[in-house]
């Protein structure tokens, strides 16, 4: 459902009815997309603002990933350790959503602390994919993407540390944007890997993603890594400006041996669609791609091991009372964190520890420089890069969860973008066995308008986004 359609509905049937339909849809779907819903609070807040609406999202229900702080609404990060934690403040993006009149109806399910590619590591249970209930929705923003794909909310926020918006957008057949690092304030986003992650919008169309990005993006003085950049997204979707003459780079390395045939074909069809629209393409090489995944995981785990040190049960969250402070602390974390989170903290601690710091952490940061240079080189001759978002469509629940490494390998096409800090969007470009396939368009720093325009043109000339789960 589009933002425009929902706003019409709000005008015609009223906000209460719109919220009621959201709630009903969540009930019917049973996808486990939300950890917490707050329809009562949502209605109260929406009514309070009734009449003074001028916001672009007036009355529009939105799902917010559960690692984004919401004042007065439980925020768990999908973890037992934050059960019952109610932030006393709003994240910057939540303030901005509210300022535009959006109505937060709840907090979406996610991989614990955003560590996962399938939303199976959530303490609150796995999320199901509306395109196939036995399939994962992707992760870690699986709740947000499945909720949008399942028609529960028109828009949602996710966060993307190594693909966590784009992967579930791809698996659920919706549109998701990972903005330029520094493009959206991280104030209030519970950190997994600070130097890599960004909050990103998820919706059913490129236009809605652009609008949501416009609403949440831009400089915030509370985030020292926030960029003072004014994005011009409005002209990006101008129908007069197409992709005529746009130079598209196709990185060879993003079509690795694990890529499914259908994914390969769909993405090549997309390239030809762009050609038909007047763009040109060339094959480019990004030689350090093969090191990106390892570098990404070393950096993410190292930062995570430190970011998650604060969860000691003293000031908030789950707590085990047992012996002295260090014992109580260690046991709280034993019980409060799930397997994957513990493994990543242990590995990150190891990578930063004396004797290993240079071999792992420092080396990963050096590789990051090389990966970033690959992008700089590519963007000398290209306006954007095009690749599959994921090497395959949604896999089955339980298929990879016991094999961490094989799960990590699914992120091969998404993590280099976070290492470099550039923006990327995923949008539907085909189907394999009735499961959606995602196309990834990658831009240079602050070139969101470019990738949004290209994505919009592609969407206008194809029908993939029109198909809904359940249509045969």
């Amino acid at each position: 459902m589009s933002i425009d359609r929902v706003r019409e509905l709000v005008d015609s049937v009223g906000i209460e009815e719109v919220l009621h339909r959201c709630s009903e849809r969540i009930e019917e779907n049973k996808l486990n997309t939300f950890i917490t819903t707050d329809f009562e609070g949502a209605l109260t807040r929406a009514r309070k603002r009734d009449g003074n609406g001028g916001g672009r999202l007036q009355g529009v229900p939105v799902g917010v990933k559960d690692n984004i702080s919401t004042r007065g609404i439980q925020t768990t990060c999908g973890s037992r350790i934050l059960t019952g934690y109610v932030p006393p403040y709003d994240a910057c993006v939540v303030e901005r959503l509210k300022a535009e009149g959006a109505v937060i109806i709840g907090k979406t399910n996610m991989d614990e602390f955003a560590m996962g590619t399938s939303t199976e590591t959530s303490y609150y249970g796995s999320v199901r994919n509306p395109w196939g209930r036995e399939r994962v929705p992707g992760g870690s923003s699986g709740g947000s993407s499945a909720a949008v794909a399942g028609g529960e909310v028109p828009i949602a926020l996710g966060s993307d540390t190594g693909g966590s918006v784009r992967c579930p957008a791809s698996f659920c057949g919706v549109v998701g944007l990972k903005p330029t690092y520094g493009g959206v304030s991280r104030y209030g986003l519970i950190s997994y890997a600070n130097s890599l992650e960004q909050i990103g919008p998820i919706a059913t169309s490129v236009g809605d993603v652009a609008l949501l990005f416009d609403a949440i993006g831009g400089y915030d003085r509370r985030d020292s890594t926030s960029a003072e950049h004014e994005f011009d997204t409005s002209s990006a979707l101008d129908s007069d400006v197409g992709v005529e003459g746009m130079r598209i780079g196709v990185p060879d390395e993003y079509f690795g041996e694990g890529t499914s045939g259908a994914v390969r074909d769909s993405v090549w069809n997309a390239i030809h669609t762009f050609e038909d629209l007047g763009a040109t393409y060339e094959i480019v090489s990004m030689p350090h791609t093969r090191y990106a995944l390892a570098a990404y995981y070393v950096i993410a785990m190292s930062e995570a091991s430190s970011n998650l040190a604060r969860f000691d049960g003293l000031r908030y969250g789950y707590r085990v009372e047992e012996g002295d402070w260090h014992t109580s602390f260690s046991r709280t974390r034993r019980e409060g964190f799930g397997e994957e989170v513990k493994r990543r903290i242990l590995l990150g601690t190891y990578a930063l520890s004396a004797g290993y710091h240079d071999k792992y952490y420092l080396k990963a940061l050096k590789v990051r420089t090389l990966v970033k240079r690959d992008f700089e080189t590519a963007f000398k001759s290209c306006d954007l890069l095009l690749a599959p978002t994921m090497p395959y469509p949604a896999f089955k629940l339980g298929e990879k969860i016991d094999d961490p490494l094989s799960l990590y390998l699914s992120d091969v096409n998404t993590v280099p973008i976070n290492l470099a800090g550039v923006p990327a969007i995923s949008l539907p470009c085909g189907f394999e066995d009735d499961l959606p396939i995602g196309l990834q368009l990658i831009g240079n720093f602050f070139c969101e308008p470019t990738i949004l325009r290209a994505a919009h043109c592609f969407e206008q000339s194809t029908d993939f986004h029109k198909r809904k789960p359940g249509d045969v």
């Binding site: 403040y89 104030y187 430190s306």
Partner: protein
């Protein structure tokens, strides 16, 4: 006559000074005047370490640090950076302290004190910015207490850690150095050192080129001399009895005026320092000229001037300038 220093006493000091003349904390807008206020009333998501809250550096804290650095004749680094020092204690709300490591704000200075044998130069290794942890309150003593209470009003108070080289040769010199430092800090107007907890000193002590011990928890200037006197006698006695000094951390028990070994569960510290990803580098060397210009006249310079302008005798000038209030009256 040169000072003999028969026992080859070597003392180095690490002094933590609160820059408490600042209105707000180092990384958030909470006010620093918490003394006497109820616990946990000068706090916000940032200094409580709430998930998602992010630090932003107080510009004036950096200015103050440069002021002190210049007064200690240090060089101000072109590029400085905050790091995370990872360790766990209930007073540390994030499970790491934001501090400096490589690239501290100020390095390689010196202070001249009146030493055992006349003027003596004490080298300053570095001065770096960091955040103060919260405050723990124990029921009874730390080892008997059934539980610990935590107040985060102090969490995030801007600290400057000043580290000397082991150039001090006696407890008396250490005291003189600390007096001189106190004097300088007051002249600079960066700290009110009368406030409880505004200064904490750790001392590294060795004799006869033996192992050194680190004496922690010296919370007053007077305590420093006593702690050092005790620790030197303790080390001498060990060596006299043919034993060696163990390299260890010791705790100064102010009430009993002795140092005691602290058995620590965390023997193998591994702080896993890495640059704080939530903060960006500082390039502030171009502030130096302006800060220098605004630097008040420091005690040494003023002493010189009192002697030449007013014909005051050296001894008298020292007394006058040794206390900021007296010196201001004389003006």
């Amino acid at each position: 006559m040169a000072y003999e220093n028969r026992d080859r006493v070597k003392i180095g000091l690490e002094i933590h000074v609160q820059l408490n003349r600042l209105k707000t904390k180092i990384f958030c807008g909470c006010t620093t005047n918490y003394h006497g206020d109820p616990p946990n009333t000068h706090v916000c998501p940032v200094c409580l370490g709430l998930p998602g809250a992010l630090p932003v550096v107080n510009r004036r804290a950096v200015e103050y640090a440069i002021r002190v650095g210049l007064a200690l004749n240090c060089g101000i680094n072109e590029h400085t950076q905050f790091y995370r020092k990872n360790y766990y204690y209930p007073d540390l709300p994030r499970g790491f302290q934001i501090t400096q490591y490589d690239y501290p704000i100020a390095q390689q200075g010196h202070v001249t004190i009146e030493g055992e044998d006349g003027e003596h130069m004490v080298r300053i290794n570095r001065a770096h910015m960091e955040e103060d942890p919260g405050r723990l309150v124990h029921e009874g003593t730390i080892d008997r207490s059934k539980y610990t209470l935590v107040d985060y009003n102090r969490s995030g108070i801007p600290l400057l850690e000043i580290v000397t080289e082991p150039d001090l040769r006696s407890p008396k010199e250490a005291r003189r150095f600390l007096d001189k430092l106190r004097n300088i800090l007051e002249y600079l107007g960066v700290s009110d050192l009368d406030l409880e907890g505004s200064v904490r000193v750790d001392a590294n002590v060795s004799i006869m080129d033996g192992n050194r011990t680190e004496v922690k928890n010296i919370s007053s200037y007077k305590g420093a001399e006593k702690a050092l006197l005790y620790e030197i006698v303790r080390q001498k006695n060990l060596i006299r009895r043919g034993k060696t000094v163990t390299q260890e951390t010791r705790h100064f028990d102010e009430a009993r005026e002795i140092t005691v070994s602290i058995r620590t569960k965390e023997e193998a510290h591994d702080y896993r320092y890495f640059p704080e990803p939530d903060l960006v580098p500082l390039r502030v060397r171009d502030w130096v000229a302006k800060v220098k210009e605004e630097l008040p006249e420091l005690p040494d310079a003023r002493k010189e001037r009192f002697m030449t302008e007013y014909g005051v005798k050296a001894e008298h000038a020292k007394t006058l300038t040794g206390q900021l209030k007296l010196a201001q009256k004389k003006q």
